[in-house]
């Protein structure tokens, strides 16, 4: 099975600014993954790739199996945008999906900053749902996404 397992936006201190899960994880597992992602991503620099493989132990009943994930991430100022996908998924396609998403946020929030994500968390979820759904890329056209977002905003 391919597809996105989760999308995570964290700041450099490891505070989660958005977490969208596309698979069943229990709360402990989520917390562990959040910490793991922060630990592996923040130590990397420009000489490193934008990809990290993470091997996470699955639920305790099937310890003999491992879930293989990889994190595709990109840093924007103090924020890390991370998408966790299957090891066989296309790295560059998701790397650019992150950028596409960030450009939409930037346009929508007029120069987005960390605080926009905090205060307008419910709008950020709407942006995510327009662009990613059920762990798949739903819409890639920035024009179409922004048009839809403005339409929804007019309903407020």
């Amino acid at each position: 099975m391919g597809g996105i397992r989760f999308i995570l936006i964290q700041n450099r201190a490891g505070k989660t600014r958005l977490a969208k899960w596309y698979m069943q994880f229990d709360d402990d597992e989520k917390q562990k993954l959040i910490e793991e992602v922060h630990a592996v991503v923040t130590v990397r620099d420009a000489k490193h790739t934008n990809f990290v493989e993470v091997i996470s132990v699955a639920d305790s009943l099937s310890v003999l199996q491992f879930r293989n994930f990889k994190i595709i991430y990109r840093r924007y100022a103090g924020l890390y945008f991370c998408i966790c996908v299957d090891v066989n998924d296309n790295n560059l396609a998701y790397l650019e999906a992150i950028h596409n998403f960030v450009e939409v946020l930037n346009e929508y929030f007029h120069n987005v900053c960390e605080l926009d994500l905090v205060f307008n968390f419910y709008k950020v979820y709407t942006v995510v749902d327009e662009m990613f759904l059920a762990g798949e890329i739903r819409e890639t056209s920035q024009t179409k996404v922004l048009k839809q977002l403005l339409m929804l905003q007019s309903l407020e």
Partner: protein, 943 residues
């Protein structure tokens, strides 16, 4: 920054959030403030005054905010559900968001939520439909699948559904199919979904392609027509000018994500059969490869990333088809260019992609031409994950022609390699050295180098394997002895080297003893100089080496006896060492030269089987990531019982017998008459009779163990028992009246088992007839996820009916666990097949015509009556299957001899199937009634 200042009541919380971002605000103050806020919201919800929609939304939104700050929320669900039925978008949206983020699938709320979703789906308001679909797609619970899996396909293919709703419906359906495939019925809608690939709206195509790909993986036939549609869509995209697709063009690349998705969909299928479609696809792939050579239309990294995303996916498809040599070689050349690209991402992806190209016969040679670049990457890349890919690629491109170079490079990299990947490199080197060894002296040198460079990372599998190979190949034994002897000269050598050295000199030290520089005494002194620095298991192994020396070199016997006799051995605090010292000393004193020679003879060759190192690597990396060109050739044992075997992949990792466990081995004689009395042992020696401690509290046999037991009658390997905590796997071999059974205990949990104690129990009736020895106790602590093995040596003294029981006791968490299973040691295991001609068979058959010698059973078939399966079962049972003996070709006859220590019993059997009645008649004739009876029972249960 604050575009959307709303919700005046938020101010306090907002300040708090800002504070925790900017000032690293004191945690307690935050909690205090939040508790106050929660109390306020609770009172609003409980208040007498009904809240209006706006206030309700405001407070639900606050709750959500508090939850997202990391605090638990245990109320507000009902208010959120109420918001779902609001007619205002903002209220509905917050309601749905709350439900999506804080799902609680147990409550009665599910019914209310589903009701609200149903209303919104039927509302014909695209915004509300979208919210409802996004909620289903986020939660994806089984209850939701039950309620909506039938409805959503209708929404998806209805003619009047808006494009944006179609996109959401397609992916919503995908989510339900992933979580509950059984609830999503295929139907008329499937063909209409396939035609969405032709849709005008590229967003709809993007969503639909994901859905079709997921469905096609499980139902390829149903979605076959998607191939030609996907090819023509792809073709239109890749040939379009960079501005044709307008807002689906991303940095001058037309619809990159859709292209990637279409290429992935095509990877669900083999190359198209229709030549026109196939030709068109080849053109697409060539166009994509051509574009990679064109000058970039933009210097932005977004442009090259998007372009290369499509290129890498196209290469994946080319590799998947593995049928166009021309494309494969072009792909390889393209990746070769990327290997030297300044972008680290591209170098990484090129290495990764080339790894799969290396396993194609068409491109293997082309990949090999990049060996120097890859070796250079190993030495210069800064990112460890890139170096790791370089190691993977070297491993994948390795063959007989370049193995010495690649192994040498990996060994030298190992000196500085990151700790995180050392063990994996060690495994890889060990596998390559074995697989491509033309000259086994090279193999021995390589493994000893491995131990020298990275001894800590050389797992047991690796050094067991080198010993196995040396034992199995007599042309390398002398060299191995000489080499370990030299390696042991180093003042500080790794303990693993001492183990290998001890083992090999114990077996083959005599081959170099003629050289005065490595005389027996010098060998012994060398080994013994390491003794005191070693751990207990290694010292135990060395003691076994010493007793082997006593046999090999009578001239050092007094020296060795002195060592064994010393207080540090005889009175060693460790029970295992003490026992070995006592027993070996006594063995060396009382046994005659002949007996010593028999007991301590050279190890018999190990049976050839899959390298356990490979199994370990697979386990480490996941089966799909380890390429083994010879996978297909490996012999596979037939599961004679037909049914699917619940053995997990991990059982393959259990295949290597541990030579350290019993140096004396199965091939050795049973306990010498003059040997040490077993009763003196404190538990855990070589010759411990575990039967003597008959357990007081034994659990009743585990449920289902009868069935498992029956499955082992005709086979020797598999999973004997499994529950949520523990898995017991078996691997056994029998020869004449002796057997050896490897028992593997797997801790399936992530928690330690403590006081883990397996015991073998034989009833009084069974005890005189069958002897079983557990050669070594297992460590009482079994780590979470770990597997431990134990060896049971078995001797059949005379015929028997019952089976020994294996009782396992341990503590898990705070609870005491007690499991008992029958060990499948059955009389037929001691069968030796006997071939004979028809005439002989019937002559013997007549000789055994005494009524007490024959036992017959007529019974109904419990499994389908398949001739081949039946044959396999009779062979698995242990007797010879005699062809063309019975005049009726439908019948099966077999012959063999049961070996016990006291006697040998000839057995003849005849099985007559009656297809019409679905019955069998089984006749057993042996010289002993009890044997006929038991064999007949055992075999009858197999059909």
């Amino acid at each position: 920054c604050f575009l959307f200042h709303r919700g005046e009541g938020f101010n306090g919380l907002f300040l708090l959030a800002v504070a925790s971002i900017t000032l690293n605000f004191v945690k307690e103050a935050e909690i205090k403030r939040i508790n106050k806020e929660l109390a306020n919201i609770r009172s609003k919800f409980k208040g007498d005054k009904a809240l209006d929609g706006y206030s309700k939304k405001k407070y639900v939104c606050k709750l959500l905010f508090i939850f997202l700050l990391g605090h638990d929320i245990d109320f507000g669900h009902m208010e959120a559900v109420n918001l779902l039925s609001s007619n205002r978008y903002t209220e509905k949206q917050i309601g749905y968001l709350f439900i999506s983020v804080l799902v609680n699938s147990n409550s009665e709320l599910i019914r209310l939520i589903n009701n609200a979703i149903k209303n919104d789906l039927a509302s014909r308001n695209p915004t509300f439909m979208g919210l409802a679909l996004h909620c289903i797609a986020s939660v994806g619970s089984r209850e939701m699948a039950e309620a909506f899996a039938g409805e959503i396909p209708k929404v998806l293919v209805a003619g009047d559904t808006m494009d944006s709703v179609k996109q959401s419906a397609a992916l919503c359906l995908l989510r339900l199919y992933r979580t509950s495939p059984d609830l999503v019925p295929m139907g008329d809608w499937t063909s209409r979904v396939v035609h969405l690939l032709n849709d005008q709206h590229l967003g709809v195509v993007t969503a639909a392609t994901s859905l079709i790909t997921t469905l096609a993986q499980k139902n390829p036939e149903e979605f076959k027509t998607s191939v030609s549609l996907a090819v023509s869509r792809l073709s239109r995209i890749v040939t379009s000018a960079s501005t044709d697709l307008q807002d689906y063009t991303y940095y001058f690349v037309p619809a990159p994500w859709l292209s990637v998705k279409l290429l992935r969909l095509l990877q669900c299928y083999p190359p198209p059969e229709d030549p026109a479609v196939r030709g068109r696809l080849t053109e697409c792939l060539e166009t994509i490869l051509n574009k990679a050579q064109e000058p970039p239309k933009s210097k932005k990294v977004q442009h090259s990333n998007a372009k290369n995303a499509v290129l890498f996916e196209a290469i994946s498809l080319i590799i998947h088809h593995d049928s166009e040599p021309n494309l494969l070689v072009r792909a390889c050349n393209q990746l070769g260019q990327f290997l030297q690209h300044r972008e680290t991402n591209l170098r990484y992806l090129a290495l990764e992609s080339m790894c799969t190209l290396a396993s194609s016969e068409f491109s293997h040679e082309a990949v090999k031409t990049h060996i120097e670049t890859v070796i250079n990457a190993l030495k210069t890349e800064r990112d460890v994950s890139v170096r790791q890919r370089a190691v993977d690629l070297l491993y994948a491109m390795c063959d007989r022609s370049n193995a010495p170079q690649i192994v040498a490079e990996m060994l030298s990299y190992l000196e500085t390699a990151d700790y995180s990947i050392r063990e994996e490199i060690v495994l890889k080197v060990a596998i390559l050295a074995e697989k491509y060894a033309v000259d086994y002296t090279w193999y021995v040198d390589t493994i000893l180098n491995l131990i020298r460079i990275a001894g800590d990372y050389v797992s047991e599998e690796v050094w067991y394997r080198v010993i196995q190979i040396v034992i199995n190949r007599d042309d390398v034994q002398g060299y191995a002895a000489k080499t370990v002897f030299e390696a042991l000269q180093a003042p500080a050598c790794h303990e693993n080297l001492v183990k290998v050295g001890g083992y090999i000199l114990g077996e083959f030290g005599n081959l170099i003893a003629g050289d005065p520089r490595s005389s027996p005494l010098i060998q012994f002194n060398l080994l013994h100089s390491k003794f005191h620095l070693c751990s207990v298991p290694t010292r135990a192994l060395l003691l076994s080496t010493y007793i082997k020396f006593v046999n090999l070199f009578p001239e050092v016997k007094p020296t060795i006896q002195d060592v064994l006799r010393s207080d540090s051995q005889l009175r060693n605090a460790d029970v295992e060492l003490q026992q070995r010292a006592v027993e070996y000393l006594r063995l060396s004193t009382v046994a005659s030269t002949d007996i010593l020679a028999t007991v301590l003879e050279e190890m018999p060759p190990f049976p050839e089987r899959e390298s356990s190192i490979l199994a370990k690597l697979k386990k480490k990396k996941g089966p799909s990531t380890v390429t083994d060109l010879e996978d297909t050739k490996r012999e596979r044992s037939v599961d004679v019982n037909g049914g699917p075997e619940p053995a997990p992949a991990s059982t393959s990792a259990m295949s290597t017998p541990s030579p350290s466990a019993d140096l004396l081995g199965l091939g050795a004689a049973p306990p010498a008459p003059a040997g040490p009395p077993p009763s003196s042992s404190g538990g855990g020696g070589l010759l411990v009779d575990v039967f003597s401690d008959s357990a007081s509290v034994v659990a009743p046999l585990a449920p289902g163990s009868e069935d498992n037991f029956a499955r082992f009658v005709c086979k020797n390997n598999g999973v004997l028992f499994e529950n949520q905590l523990l898995q017991i796997g078996l691997k056994s071999e029998f020869r004449q009246n002796l057997g050896r059974m490897f028992i593997f205990y797997g801790n399936k949990t992530s928690t330690q088992f403590l006081n883990f104690t397996p015991t073998l129990i034989c009833s009084d009736e069974l005890q005189p007839n069958i002897l079983g020895f557990i050669t070594k106790p297992v460590d009482p602590t079994v780590e979470g996820g770990a597997q431990v093995q134990q060896v049971v040596n078995i001797e059949c003294v005379s015929d028997f009916t019952e089976a020994p029981v294996l009782n396992i006791q341990f503590r898990y968490g705070g609870t005491f666990q007690n499991v008992s299973v029958q060990l499948p040691i059955t009389l037929n295991k001691f069968f030796q097949p006997t071939e004979m001609a028809s005439q002989d068979f019937f002559q013997r058959w007549k000789q055994l015509s005494n009524p007490q010698q024959e036992v017959q059973n007529i019974f109904k078939a419990k499994h389908p009556m398949d001739t081949e399966v039946t044959k396999a079962k009779i062979i698995g049972f242990g007797s010879a299957l005699l062809e063309e003996v019975d005049p009726n070709p439908a019948n099966f006859v077999g012959a063999g001899i049961i070996h016990t220590k006291t006697t040998q019993i000839g057995c003849l059997l005849r099985l007559e199937p009656n297809l019409q009645a679905q019955m069998y008649r089984l006749t057993l004739r042996t010289s002993k009634e009890a044997v006929s009876q038991r064999l007949c029972e055992l075999l009858s249960a197999q059909f």
